[in-house]
Amino acid sequence: MSILIDEKTRVVVQGITGRDGSFHATQMMDYGTNVVAGVTPGKGGNLFADKVPIYDSVGEAVKEAQANTSVIYVRAPFAPDAICEAADAGIKLVVCISEGIPVRDMARVLPFIRERGCRLVGPNCPGVISPGAKVKVGILPASIFADGPVGVVSRSGTLTYEVVFQLSNQGLGQSTCLGIGGDQLIGTNFIDALTLFGEDPQTKAVVLIGEIGGTDEEEAASFIADKVDKPVVAFIAGQTAPPGKRMGHAGAIVSGGTGTAKEKIAAFEKVGVPVAKIPSEITGLVKKAAPNLSP
C-alpha cells in the first residue's frame, strides 16, 4: 500500500510538450507510471512519445482518457490557471512542480480547488513516489528509492533524496515519499501527510523533514502528540539561517521572530519525537524508534 498514488493512478501531464514536462513524462513512464494523457493548449490531437494522446484541455483528458491525477510542469505565470483547470475538470489529486508562483495567486487558487474537492501537492515540490506500486508523479529520481515501510514527507527536494539514499542503503525502503513543497502556501501540509501515513497499513514509521519558516512543523508536532501512533523521526534544516533572509525556498524564511529551527526542534522534542541533529543520524533514529523495521 501507499498514500495518494497507487496502481489506479492515471496521470495527465499538464505542459507535456515543454522541456521539463516531456523529460519527466518519459521518466515517469519508464518507472511504471500510467501516464494516460498530456495537455498543452493548442497542441491537442497529437501524440506524445508516439502513444500518449495530447489534449487541449484537462477536461478532455478526464473525459477521453479517464485521467484522475494531474502533474503540472508549466511555468509559474500559467501554473495557477493550470491547477484551477485540473480541479474544475474533476481531477482529485494535482501535483504542482512549478516553482515561483506568487503567494497572492495561491491564496486565490487554494479555496477554489478545495471547493471542488481537489487535493494539491505543492507547488514548488518534487512530487510523490510510491516504490511498491512503481508509480511516481513528479521529478524524484526513481533509482534511489526502494519499497519498504518508511513514509517520508519533506519540504525539500535534494535533501530528501540525500535522506532517502541513506534509508535505502541501510535497507529501509519507503512506502511513499512525498515532497510537500518549499512555498509559503501549499496544498498539502505535514498534518495532511501524517494523517494519510497514519491510515496506510504499509507505513510503519515516518521521517519528517522540515525547515525554517512558518509553523507547519510546530502544528505537526501537536498533531503527532494527539493523533499519530506510528513512530516519527524529524529533521529541521536551517538552524544557521539568519532572520529575514529567504533561504532559496520562498517559504524558508524566519520573519517576525517566528519560524526558527530552534522552536521547531523544541516543539518535536517536547512531544517525544526524536530530532536528528544532522542528516546522517536519521537512519539510526528510525531504526531505534521502530526496531522491528531493521532488515
Binding site: P111, E211, A237, M247
Partner: protein, 377 residues
C-alpha cells in the same frame, strides 16, 4: 524585494493614504533646500533597506534648514548594519498625539492575508507579539472579497474611541490592503501610523516588501529596486539565477537544492566551522552557474575553503562532474575546494573529477569536516 520608505510612501500617496510632505535627497545642500521648501521642522531619515536605523542614529529631527543640512551630512555616508546610506528623506515633522501599528502579511497557516493592528505603534511588532500578544488585533481577510468596511471599522474602533478618527483609520486600513494586494506585497506596514495633536491620521513610516515571485508582473515596482543598497553578491546571484545569502563565516559552500544547502550550512556549524554563505545552484549541471557561484563566493575575503555538495538525482552525477570540470578549467582558484558528489552515477563522476586533482569526499559529513580543516589551515 524591499523598497525604500520614500518609495513605499509614494505607493501610499497613490492609494490615498495620508503621508507627511517630504523629499528624498542625496546631498546636505539638497536637504537644506528641501527643509526650506517644507517650511516647518523636519525629520531627516536615512533610506536603507534594513531595520534599526533609528537606534543607529539614522533618524534626526531638525528645527530649521540649517539643522537639516547638518543632520543630512552626518547621516549620508553612514554605515547601518553594513549598508551605506546614500539617500535621506527630509520630511515634515508632525505633532504626535498617539502612535498606532498597522501591518499586513500572509498568514501561512490560515492561508489568508492577515491584518495586524496595535494601539502601541512605533515599537517593533515582534516585541509586542512576544511580550504582550493580546495587544495585537488580528483580522483575516478573504483574498477575493478584500477588507470590508465593517471589518476595518471594527478593527479601527479597537484602536481609538473617537469615531472621527476611527473612520480615518478604517479607510487607511482599506487603502493599505489595496496597496498590499495590488503590489503583490509580502509585507505592507505603517509603523507608526500617527494621530496628530490636531486630529489627523498620518503614516509617518512606510514599509512594503514585494513577493519576489510576483516581480514578473510588477514591472513598475521592480524598477524601484535599489541595487546599490543591496549586498553585491546577492545582486550578482539574482542576475545569474542563483539563490545566495551572505553569512559571516569562512567556509563557502555551493549546493544543489535549498534544503540541502541549509543542511550543509548547519552541518558546518555542527562540526565547529562557520558557513560563509547559503548558495543554491538549483538542478542544473550548467558550468555557467558553477562559475557564477564560485565568483560570488570569491568576492568574500573571509572565505578560506569551498565545499561543493551535490546530490545527483535526475541530474546525474557524471553530468555535474563534467560541468565542474569545465568550470574549474576556466577559473583560477587559489582556495582549497572539496567536492562531494553522491547519487546516480557517482562512481563515473569521481573518475571524471580525478583529472582536476580536487579533494573529493564520499559523504556530506566527511566533506564538511575536511572543508573546516582546510579553512583553519
Amino acid at each position: 524585494m524591499k523598497i525604500h520608505e520614500y518609495q513605499a510612501k509614494e505607493l501610499f500617496k497613490q492609494a490615498g493614504i495620508p503621508v507627511p510632505e517630504g523629499e528624498v535627497v542625496e546631498t546636505p545642500g539638497a536637504a537644506y533646500d528641501a527643509a526650506k521648501r517644507i517650511g516647518k521642522p523636519v525629520v531627516v531619515k536615512a533610506q536603507v533597506l534594513v531595520g534599526g536605523r533609528g537606534k543607529a542614529g539614522g533618524v534626526k529631527l531638525a528645527k530649521d534648514p540649517d539643522e537639516a543640512k547638518e543632520h543630512a551630512s552626518s547621516i549620508l555616508g553612514m554605515d547601518i548594519k553594513g549598508l551605506k546610506v546614500d539617500k535621506v528623506l527630509v520630511t515634515e515633522a508632525v505633532d504626535i498625539a498617539t502612535e498606532i501599528y498597522i501591518g499586513m502579511i500572509m498568514d501561512r497557516s490560515c492561508q489568508k492575508p492577515l491584518v495586524m493592528a496595535s494601539a502601541e505603534g512605533g515599537v517593533e511588532i515582534e516585541v509586542v507579539a512576544k511580550e504582550n500578544p493580546e495587544a495585537i488585533m488580528r483580522l483575516h481577510v478573504d483574498p477575493l472579497f478584500g477588507v470590508q468596511p465593517f471589518q476595518s471599522r471594527g478593527l479601527a474602533s479597537k484602536l481609538n474611541s473617537d469615531f472621527n478618527l476611527v473612520r480615518q483609520i478604517a479607510q487607511i486600513i482599506e487603502k493599505l490592503y489595496t496597496v498590499y494586494d495590488r503590489a503583490d506585497a509580502s509585507l505592507a506596514e505603517i509603523n507608526p501610523l500617527v494621530i496628530t495633536k490636531d486630529g489627523r491620521v498620518v503614516a509617518i513610516d512606510a514599509k512594503v516588501n514585494i513577493d519576489d515571485s510576483a516581480l514578473y508582473r510588477q514591472k513598475k515596482l521592480e524598477e524601484l529596486r535599489d541595487v546599490s543598497a543591496e549586498d553585491p553578491g546577492e545582486v550578482k546571484a539574482r542576475e545569474a539565477g542563483l539563490s545566495f545569502v551572505k553569512l559571516e563565516g569562512n567556509v563557502g559552500c555551493i549546493v544543489n537544492g535549498a534544503g540541502l544547502a541549509m543542511a550543509t550550512m548547519d552541518l558546518i556549524k555542527t562540526y565547529g566551522g562557520e558557513p560563509a554563505n547559503f548558495l543554491d545552484i538549483g538542478g542544473s549541471s550548467n558550468p555557467e552557474k558553477v562559475i557564477a557561484a564560485l565568483e560570488i563566493i570569491l568576492r568574500d575575503p573571509n572565505v578560506k575553503s569551498i565545499f561543493i555538495n551535490i546530490f545527483g538525482g535526475i541530474t546525474r552525477c557524471d553530468d555535474v562532474a563534467k560541468g565542474l570540470v569545465t568550470a574549474f578549467k576556466q577559473m583560477n582558484l587559489n582556495l582549497p575546494v572539496i567536492v562531494r558528489l553522491t547519487g546516480t552515477n557517482e562512481d563515473i563522476a569521481r573518475e571524471i573529477l580525478a583529472e582536476l586533482n580536487l579533494d573529493t569526499a564520499a559523504t556530506m559529513d566527511d566533506g564538511v569536516k575536511r572543508a573546516i580543516e582546510l579553512a583553519r589551515s
